[in-house]
Symmetry: none
Subunit: 400 residues, 2 copies
């Protein structure tokens, strides 16, 4: 029996409100370099402590044992989609990251400005890592000149440094296509191969765009990678019967939420504002996803003190959401970003489920080592949404 | 490699004795309403404590993450069958519940007495929830008049209130069939559709039975639901090489055990008698399943004190079985029935395995929160039988 179908057949509707707060990359590790403590252990977290004393805890594996996830798989998993089944191409993730409102069927490509010699040979795949301002200026040139290729709309948006994104929007497009990036210097730009219409559009785009850059220095060319179309994904509402909203500051997380059909609620500039908007959203929506970014950024920087501060800031803001008493409140990360790793990692992230019938595991604080002792054990993150449904009494009994 | 086959190839025979004691619905949760304690924590359990100090513990997921099981899936899982693979229809469970000795191939239906108007329209699907005594009297009328339809035997047995069970026994029958229950009032009785011979027999049964009720008030009709046949299931002995017996007071649990080929041993009226009969059965059988009902009933009632008392009563009776020193003794539930939930739930039930080589996890008591710290972790209940086999040295080494 297909387990997704089993869950779907058991799904029932009611008026409960569910909230998922993702402290991005919050999980950490205790090593000699951190004095054998983690930021969650060192941070002063009165609100998280209060939740801990009435919650069930555990740790979650975002993708599979020992796999370090990117933000895409990390979040898809929290939203209940198997990241090994639902593949979202890199171009799509990148487009979401720069804030493009992707539509079903759009084909998106990551692009790098590069340097070409007189014979069209790539001499620097990153064009000396040009400034973002130069990238933006050159993207503006391209965007102004190329708005359409046949019946296909072309959207161009600058990212950071030498990076930008190209989106092709029109009927009959699909990915994936091979990269035009030859992968190393000393080679010419490759042709993108794949579904015929899309390959033709990409080739035409290069033919139109490259001449526009010929006098630019050092970025007189560009390479496309991860050319993919937005996959058709069963929406959050179809899958769980939950009308869902997303509150995030960074575009990529809003994009990932939109990918599964959540409504993005714009305008928050701080964690406090995010929590206030979450409280407001819970009046209209069944489920609210709130994304807290600073924990991940501090982990990426390997900055222990900054991660402690980010957790404390998040904890303080959390009080606003707690006061609204959602029926089910989950605090977790999308993965760990340990300070000693300075990047994402596979270490299972701690998770805490609060609700009227979550049960208390007897743990006093929300930390990695407390979560090890919780009733939820170590489980795959894609099941989190099922525990949220169950705690909200939105899953019926299986069998007599 | 199919895991079931791996286990089967590793299975070896010896003279060990295995006992599974199921405190039905024993798992619970600590919430504000229970003063943050569970019945297992509050109960005085000298025998369970004694076992705890020589056992391995963990928690088990009956069906899948966050799924609340009925008694059928809960027990099938404890017996080592995947409840998502082995589906037992509602009619079959209901027939087992009223104590009908089902045979392979029998088709069973849940039935409700209902009220029909002069035009045969259902005006009350439960006939005003008539008394059990009326139900019994009307079932007697039907049973007396309809014993056979062609070559098919018909068995009719009253349940509680307006509920009864009809079983069709003969060659060539199979389920499932659609309900004759239209699902709401204001509609006529529907035809049961499905495998031809069975559908014909069901239609004939209605044709014969309905006129017999025409003067009954208010229950002048009946509706059939969950019409299903007893599935063919590999027996416990075929699967594990264990000759198994079941000791339970309530018919449904005996029925579920019989479904997998256990011999039911009748006659127990109390937990103490059940344990005495288990000791006796272990002389003849390799494996004994003992079902303890009162814990579940107390949980369903949301009665904390009653659940504590039920645990204490079970604990006291357990001494008799412990004195017989089965080689492997397991104490667990088929699921949790938390007092704050007043019903079954998905919370993993605690499990404790005692045996010469089970190993002690250093835990002093058998409680949910102790079990969180056990060496078995949180695992799917269908693997419990494998741990029992292993502890009984009935599973050989895999590979060299």
């Amino acid at each position: 029996m297909n387990l997704d179908n089993v869950y779907k057949n058991l799904t029932i509707a009611n008026n409960t409100k569910l909230a998922l707060v993702v402290f991005d990359g919050v999980g950490d590790i205790a090593t000699a370099s951190t004095n054998w403590q983690t930021p969650l252990e060192v941070a002063k977290t009165p609100n998280l402590d209060k939740l801990a004393r009435q919650s069930a805890m555990g740790r979650m594996i975002p993708v599979a044992h020992a796999i370090t996830p990117g933000s895409g798989p990390g979040h898809l998993s929290l939203f209940g989609y198997d990241p090994l089944e639902v593949e979202v191409g890199r171009g799509v993730i990148e487009a979401l990251g720069v804030g493009i409102d992707l539509q079903a069927g759009d084909v998106a490509a990551r692009a790098n400005f590069c340097t070409l010699d007189a014979n069209g040979i790539v001499t620097d795949r990153r064009a000396g890592r040009i400034d973002t301002s130069i990238c933006e200026a050159q993207c503006a040139i391209l965007a102004k000149a190329i708005k359409k290729i046949g019946d296909v709309d072309v959207l161009i948006k600058a990212g950071k440094g030498h990076r930008f994104v190209v989106v092709f929007r029109g009927t009959g497009l699909e990915g994936p296509l091979t990269n035009t990036d030859p992968g190393r210097e000393g080679m010419p730009i490759a042709a993108a191969t794949g579904p015929a219409k899309t390959a033709k559009v990409v080739a035409e785009f290069q033919k139109l765009a490259l001449p526009l850059l010929k006098d630019c220095k050092p970025a007189n060319g560009f390479l496309l990678r991860g050319i993919a179309h937005q996959p058709k994904i069963e929406t959050f509402e179809e899958r769980y019967g939950l009308k869902a909203a997303c509150i995030a500051v960074y575009p990529m997380y809003k994009g990932l939420a939109q990918l599964v059909g959540m409504t993005k609620i714009e305008g928050a500039h701080s964690l406090q504002e995010e929590m206030e908007m979450a409280v407001e959203a819970l009046k209209t929506y069944d489920y609210v996803f709130v994304h807290v970014k600073p924990t991940d950024a501090a982990g990426e920087d390997g900055n222990f003190a900054a991660k402690v501060a980010a957790i404390e800031e998040g904890d303080a803001a959390l009080g606003t959401l707690m006061a609204a008493k959602p029926d089910v409140l989950v605090i977790t990360g999308d993965h760990s970003t340990p300070v000693p790793v300075k990047g994402h990692s596979w270490h299972p992230q701690p998770v805490m489920i609060t609700g009227e019938i979550a049960g208390w595991d007897g743990l006093e604080r929300f930390t990695e080592r407390a979560a090890n002792l919780g009733s939820l054990g170590v489980f795959e993150a894609k099941y989190l949404i099922r525990y949220m449904q169950a705690n909200a009494k939105r899953l019926d009994k299986f069998g007599a």
